[in-house]
């Protein structure tokens, strides 16, 4: 920990800040760089799915709990917004109600599924997600069944219209940056460290005085909040919601985003979301069998970078750097493993 004050670490941190600023500027410049509305919409989609994946990553990566039911939580938020707007309520009411109802549902999900861990946890979340899907599909008087519910207008917070692709992109970007900051702060916090501890040694954490169940519950709620935020953005983005968005495939896709990008890393889920959205929307215009391509990319990632693309790329880049014969203090395992990036300290190679 004292290593934080040592000069090489400070330099690395400055470099990181610089990279962060550049990334934010690049994200702001997107609508100027690609003026076509279609591609700006794709960028919005990447960001909103990135929020979804970040939420899932809190559970999968940092808590070590794999959920296959998150599309259900995503869908609850989206459906509440659509339903309340159709019933004539204001955007503010619809959004707040969506977040509250999603959080209550998340608490229910957590209470039921945290009785287990490992495979049993996956199966319980899967079943819960399927129940939500079943309700959306079959409770036609409430959800309009397979026909879904349309949303007539997007909100205009502070007179700033979100009806254009660019307007919606910037709103999504702001929410995305807030979500990213929230996750980054959480991961470095004592509670975040405790969460990673419950992932690695739950028994020890219990003996050390931690309430393992409650820590996991908090993580589940945080995860559910981010998922609900993504769901609200989604329903305004597509201006329509149908059971398809809640299906098991949607949960699995979220999981693939997290794992392919790198579970337990900050940027992994963002990369994973970009990969899935781009292949689905852009590559599919040129390649009929885009599903096959997505599968091939996942296989390649799993074979060459089993820890996910972001930490894997960092590892490979470092290896290449070392091969060039440059001596440079390497950060021990750094980003390759969750929760350790800010705790491990420089050492000689």
């Amino acid at each position: 920990m004292s290593g934080l004050q040592s000069p090489p670490m400070t330099r690395a941190f400055n470099g990181r800040h610089l990279a962060m600023a550049a990334a934010v500027l690049a994200l702001i410049a997107v609508p100027y760089a690609i003026p076509e509305g279609y591609y700006v919409n794709i960028a919005s989609q990447i960001l909103l799915y990135a929020i979804f994946a970040m939420g899932l990553n809190v559970l999968v990566g940092y808590a070590g709990l794999v959920s296959l039911g998150h599309a259900g939580l995503f869908g609850i938020a989206a459906y509440v917004v659509a339903y309340l707007l159709a019933a004539g309520h204001s955007h503010t009411v619809a959004i707040l109600a969506a977040l509250v109802i999603s959080l209550v549902s998340t608490a229910g999900f957590a209470a039921l599924s945290l009785r287990a861990s490992g495979i049993s946890f996956i199966m319980i979340t899967l079943a819960l997600g399927e129940i939500i899907w079943g309700v959306a599909y079959r409770w036609i008087s409430l959800t309009n069944g397979d026909n879904g519910i349309s949303v007539a207008t997007r909100p205009a917070p502070f007179g700033f219209s979100l009806s254009s692709a660019t307007g919606f992109y910037y709103a999504t970007l702001i929410v995305f940056l807030l979500a990213m900051a929230a996750v980054a702060i959480f991961v470095r916090s004592p509670l975040g460290a405790a969460l990673c501890g419950t992932r690695d040694q739950p028994r020890r954490m219990n003996a050390l005085g931690y309430h393992v169940w409650m820590i996991r519950f908090c993580a589940f709620m945080f995860s559910g909040l981010l998922t609900a935020v993504a769901g609200v953005l989604f329903v305004y983005y597509t201006e329509f919601i149908s059971p398809q968005a809640l299906a098991l495939t949607a949960s699995a896709e979220g999981l693939l985003m997290v794992i392919s990008g790198g579970a337990g890393t900050l940027l992994g889920p963002v990369f994973g979301a970009a990969l899935v959205v781009i292949v689905k929307n852009v590559v599919s215009a040129y390649v009929t069998r885009w599903n096959f391509m997505l599968g091939a990319i996942f296989v390649a990632i799993v074979v060459f970078m089993p820890e996910g693309f972001v930490p894997g790329a960092v590892r490979l880049a470092r290896a290449a750097w070392r091969k060039r014969g440059r001596s440079r203090p390497a950060i021990a395992i750094a980003e390759s493993r969750p929760c350790t990036e800010h705790m491990n300290v420089e050492r000689e190679p």
């Binding site: 004292s2 004592p190 509670l191 219990n206 003996a207 350790t340």
Partner: protein, 245 residues
């Protein structure tokens, strides 16, 4: 007032009785050694005392407070700390972070989701102090995955000591150590102040015997001999079950 009292504790796994009417009475500051052959139920007894297993019958008191039904985490807050025979640490983190987690476990800060953990100076200082006590301060920032087995044993002890326990349960602290490392760990345990009550499981009689005030010999889940070192060593049943004669 006794520091730790175990009364008629029983535990069965199906038809197998692993703990049968075990009684222990540890005075404050006492060094109690629990010996017994493999499968005698020593670690099970520890798990019952810490609450990681629930007893079928009997009770456990910590400073006159009945803790039999208390969850493990609450026992930690009451001053009970343990180490594990099978090393149970956080291999992806540094040594210092391992000890910090031990400190954080008893701190209200553990629920804080926004403060930056590495900036909590008081935790960092306490962690360093605990590591100094076990002689690991100079490698505090090393990832645990790059430490030796003997160093990990000492991290186990540092984590328990960092919590400032009143009752410390050591599960085979010498297991797997070389002769030199044993001597180091022995010195370290001897330096623990007398206000800490220590219950220790140990196989290695040579290192452990002179450490103990009283010894309990466990066999098939029962305490069959209890007394001072001389009494236990002289007892014919000890020779029978433990020394193999």
């Amino acid at each position: 007032m006794s520091a730790l009292v175990v009364n008629n504790l029983c535990k069965s796994f199906g038809g197998l009785r692993v703990t049968t009417n075990v009684c222990l009475d540890g005075a404050p500051g006492e060094r109690r050694l629990i010996i017994g052959p493999n499968g005698a139920g020593k670690t099970t007894l520890f798990n019952l005392i810490t609450g990681e297993l629930t007893a079928d019958a009997g009770w456990v008191k910590l400073f006159d407070r009945d803790i039999t039904r208390l969850p493990t985490r609450k026992r930690a807050h009451l001053g009970m700390a343990r180490t594990y025979q099978i090393i149970t640490l956080f291999p992806q983190n540094t040594i210092a972070h391992n000890v910090t987690l031990a400190l954080l476990g008893l701190s209200r800060l553990r629920w804080n989701p926004w403060a930056e953990l590495v900036r909590q100076e008081h935790l960092a200082m306490q962690a360093r102090e605990a590591l100094r006590r076990v002689g690991l301060a100079q490698i505090a920032d090393r990832p645990l995955s790059q430490t030796s087995y003997g160093e990990r044993r000492r991290v186990e002890i540092a984590m328990a000591l960092a919590q400032n326990p009143k009752v410390l349960l050591l599960d085979e602290p010498f297991a797997g150590l070389s002769i030199d490392e044993r001597q180091e760990v022995r010195k370290l345990l001897l330096a623990i102040p007398r206000d800490v009550t220590i219950v220790m499981i140990e196989h290695d009689m040579d290192v452990a015997l002179d450490f103990a005030d009283r010894i309990s010999l466990l066999h098939f889940g029962e305490v069959i001999v209890e007394g001072t070192r001389a009494e236990v060593v002289a007892n014919p049943r000890t020779r029978e079950v433990y020394l193999g004669e």
